[in-house]
Amino acid sequence: MLTRADLAKYPFLNEASDYIKELGISIDDIASPDFSPVLERAEKRLEEALSKGRVSNEFSNENAEILSFPVSNLILSLTGEERAQRRFALAESKRAYELLRQESPEKLDYIARTTFGWKLNKIDAQLGKRFYDFAIALADYLRNSVHLKEPKWKLPNRILDHGFVYATREELARLLEEEVRTKIVERSSRPPGEIPKLLQPKVERTRGLITKWLGVPSHYELPKVPSPESMPPCVRHLIDNLAEGKNVQHMGRFTLASFLVNIGAGEEDIVKAFKPASDFSERMTRYQVEHIAGKRGGRTKYTCPMCTTLKTHGVCYKPDDICSTIRNPLSYYKRKARILTGKGAET
């Protein structure tokens, strides 16, 4: 079904890994000068992804194209930089999408089935003006569509027939892009076994690139001192309501406490925020805040609920422009703090 040219296009496929195994190449072989094109290409993949968020295709040397991909992954995993791993995965998956959308339904079907284990049917249906080539099993559809924001991906706007969601070829390619992205993030964040010496300088160089293009990590971290001006409308509203002695429901209280815990507010300050509540109990509040902060019970530090959850529970309040770009109140805080401290827009 797949040719070597296909593996060069899609080096994340199971068949690509099998192909490398068949060649009998191990990571130590990379030291050999024969493999310098592989190393060069691996570094170029990383540099392009980090600098432009894009990776170009170089099909002239198919073997280098296939072999360089796992090397890029390995270098990235050695840096331990999550932001870079995500950015690389996004760039590689976008590159794949541009190619996937031009493939035949048969090839798309094969890739979805074999590498990603999807259940899907090839269909040939025209409804209205659109042609649907595929019906994708609901679970496979949902796993990849829930993160896509456009209304057309919402399940009520799809054609759903006995557990299968109709999709055009283009749409299937887009959903595969999501699957590819997830797979690459998993691969590049997997801790490597032994570190080949040869790669050490490459790892250092990549760290430099990450700093150059993505900035020093601390720039992306939260302000050291909690900044009330950076809080999203929902959190401010919760604080105002409490201050006015209005009752705030459980989900609202949890949102506020988990938000404050995560932006590094002190326990005393958090307890103070709840003080005006009509049913305030210092002991209970302290206990719950400690629980959320992971100092009690299961020792899990809770994160703030997602915006979708807050919408469902009526905690979301007067969303503004920044809100439309984020999915969690904590991201709002980070972004706003960056804007206010003049660190510029996120790249």
């Binding site: 409804l127 209205g128 003006k129 659109r130 099993a137 609901l138 679970a139 949902l142 796993r143 569509s145 829930v146 209304p151 057309k152 919402k154 399940l155 009520p156 706007n157 799809r158 054609i159 759903l160 027939d161 006995h162 557990g163 299968f164 109709y166 209005k246 009752n247 429901q249 019970g297 299961g298 020792r299 899990t300 979708t308 469902t312 009526g314």
Partner: protein
């Protein structure tokens, strides 16, 4: 425990101690967490696990809880604290409850009181107190034929969509009466057990048609040589497409006065043969009815055809849910399995009755109601000797006190 609770607990105990009693726990019972709400101070015993139905029944006989729950989730260690249980999957569950339905009888049997300012009102409880905007409300509800009939209709719509759209297996699906104001549907299937919260939210949104945009189902207007032509989904198409048309068909056959159309539009639609909907493209065949009118109709059709589930229950992947075959402490009625083919004829005021004998009670206030073939009430400050089932309903609903 107050005197009413003592009587209720005693009757519950008798019920559970019956040697013939058996519990019918869900599949993979040992991987679930069980919870019991006790009469004693409304205390919740959680994080329990049982290897088989017999040990579970022993615990129920021992504790005599007012409510018995099991987790829809399966865990590696069901008794560990929440964060360490090791979630391995969860049933896909749906809850249809009269609380979420807008039945016209609610003002007759439900009322509420604001805990902050004391304002009271009849009908379903509002989200916020209309006077002081507080959200802490006390409510008193009742279960009536009409509410439960509507819940049944919503359940039928839910099941239809689960089978034809979501594609769940008949064999994997169980239907239960909750013992109060609604029905539960459980899907025990590998295909759905791994779905996360966000994925389940999409399914809930689908059933409620939340966020459905007609133009994404290709309801649109095109201009052909200067004439505007409306196009849209057709009957027989899968999913919401065909259902939208079926919904419009229903609406055209019934009330059209209060759906926001002008009388001219209503007349145009009335004089048109709605059977055309079931034949071929019709969106441009009614004079004076254009795309915006159709959009209004689509909105109504979607409202009519959607299943009014409680989204919180479906999206919560750690939920404790009532165990069928146990008594519901809100009513004294049995939460029980309803064979799906019998949903239509199932009588929630007859089949879940669990007690024998009579109890003398003093009723404060109660609407009239039916149990089995017998009608009771309405009562107002009176002492009566009632069949246990009726007395228990009044006691559980805090409408009566036992008389020694």
């Amino acid at each position: 425990m107050n005197p009413a609770e003592q009587v209720i607990r005693q009757k519950f105990q008798q019920y559970y101690l019956d040697p013939k009693r058996q519990l019918d726990p869900p599949p993979n019972p040992s991987e679930r967490e069980y919870g019991f709400l006790l009469f004693n101070g409304k205390f919740m015993v959680r994080h329990r696990s049982f290897k088989d139905p017999v040990s579970l029944l022993t615990a129920v006989r021992d504790l005599v809880p007012s409510h018995v729950y099991f987790s829809t989730a399966y865990y590696r260690e069901p008794t560990a604290p929440m964060e360490e249980k090791g979630w391995t999957g969860a049933d896909l569950v749906f809850d249809i409850d009269a609380d979420h339905l807008n039945t016209p009888c609610k003002p007759d049997h439900d009322n509420w009181k604001c805990k902050a300012c004391g304002t009271t009102g009849n009908g379903g409880v509002p989200k916020l107190c209309p006077k002081c905007k507080n959200d802490r409300m006390e409510e008193q509800t009742w279960l009536c034929d009409r509410c439960l009939q509507e819940a049944k209709e919503e359940t039928a719509k839910l099941l239809e969509m689960l089978y034809t759209d979501i594609g769940v297996d008949h064999e994997a699906t169980r239907l239960f009466f909750s013992g109060h104001r609604g029905y539960h549907v459980h899907v025990y299937s590998k295909q759905t057990s791994q779905l996360g919260e966000e994925e389940r939210r999409e399914i809930a949104d689908y059933l409620l048609a939340q966020g459905l945009e007609p133009q994404l189902h290709e309801l649109e207007e095109t201009s052909v040589g200067g004439t505007k032509l409306a196009e849209g989904p057709l009957i027989g198409q899968p999913g919401w497409r065909g259902r939208i048309v079926a919904g419009i068909y229903d609406i055209l056959g019934s009330e059209m006065d209060q759906i926001g159309l002008s009388s001219t539009q209503v007349n145009a639609l009335r004089s048109w043969d709605r059977e055309d909907l079931l034949r071929k493209p019709f969106w441009s065949s009614v004079k004076g009815v254009g795309i915006s009118t159709w959009k209004t109709l689509v909105k109504k059709a979607v409202e009519k055809k959607s299943a009014k589930i409680d989204t919180v229950v479906t999206t919560d992947i750690h939920r404790l849910i009532r165990m069928p075959g146990t008594l519901n402490g809100h009513t004294g009625l049995l939460a029980m399995k309803v064979p799906e083919e019998r949903l239509d004829e199932f009588d929630p005021f007859k089949e879940p009755l669990a007690f024998q004998g009579e109890i003398k009670v003093k009723v404060k206030e109660s609407p009239g109601f039916r149990l089995g073939e017998e009608r009771f009430g309405p009562y107002h400050d009176e002492t009566v000797v009632l069949p246990s089932t009726a007395a228990m309903l009044l006691l559980c609903k805090h409408r009566a006190e036992p008389v020694a």
